[in-house]
């Protein structure tokens, strides 16, 4: 086997490893109990899957055609940058929308803070009589923590 064939084999191995990661992440997304654990499977391992696959494609095109694709590198950087952000934003929205957690959940530290903020908002509203938007108060509290 010559050197080009070996490099192509390594690239295909990268892609196969990425697809196995994707399969593991799909198993996670169907088996895990609630949305907060499912978002782990949906963002972390599938990010690794797409990273391995795109690296494999980059190696393949670099060895086979001598084409160093800037688009693939940009795609790798973009996916690596945005997938954790997307996962965080979805989980935050799910918590705000009061999605039910799994029965095996042992601790919810944010719940106390949210209750406290809601009580303070109620008190302030009854004192001053003005309308307060609770979401903004919660956001302020989170940022100051």
């Amino acid at each position: 086997m010559n050197i080009d064939g070996t490099i192509e084999f390594i690239a295909a191995l990268f892609m196969l490893a990425g697809s196995i990661m994707a399969l593991i992440s799909a198993i996670g997304i169907i088996r895990l109990p609630d949305v907060f654990t499912r978002s782990h499977a949906g963002t972390k391992s599938s990010t690794l899957a797409v990273l391995l696959t795109l690296v494999g494609a980059f190696i393949y095109f670099a060895s086979n055609q001598g084409f160093y694709s800037v688009r693939l590198l940009l795609g790798i950087a973009f996916v690596f940058l945005t997938a954790p952000v997307a996962g965080h934003v979805i989980t935050r929205a799910a918590y705000r929308a009061n999605v039910k957690m799994a029965d095996t959940t042992v601790e919810d530290e944010l719940k106390d803070v949210m209750d406290q903020v809601r009580e303070e908002a109620e008190k302030e509203r009854s004192e001053t009589g003005e309308v307060i938007i609770e979401d903004e108060k919660v956001a302020d509290k989170e940022h100051s923590r």
Binding site: M15, T53, A57, L72, V89
Partner: protein, 94 residues
């Protein structure tokens, strides 16, 4: 050998996308469905990379970037809709 490995990888991606579609159908809440939708977008990106390697053409590499950007923006818009009930806000006092 290499073609066989690529075919197997593409099959695995197809199975993963089917499982995510199943989660979209049965998902109890809206965030579940959006997590699965985000995952489908990411897996579509990598299966397009595999297809372009199988066909040994670099014409599909633009699709990867655009699909990644679209998946990210749609995820952000959906989660904003869950959180606030609106996608575009028109408040001027921020």
């Amino acid at each position: 050998m290499v073609q066989g490995m690529l075919t197997v990888a593409l099959t695995f991606y197809g199975i993963s996308i089917c499982i995510s579609v199943f989660r979209i159908i049965i998902g109890p809440s809206l965030p579940d469905r959006i997590v699965a939708l985000d995952m489908i977008g990411v897996m579509l990106v990598s299966s397009i990379a595999i297809v372009s390697v199988m066909l040994t053409t670099t014409a599909f590499l633009e699709v990867i970037l655009i699909l990644a950007i679209l998946a990210f923006i749609s995820t952000i818009a959906f989660s904003k809709y869950i959180e606030r009930g609106v996608i575009l806000e028109y408040r001027r006092d921020d």
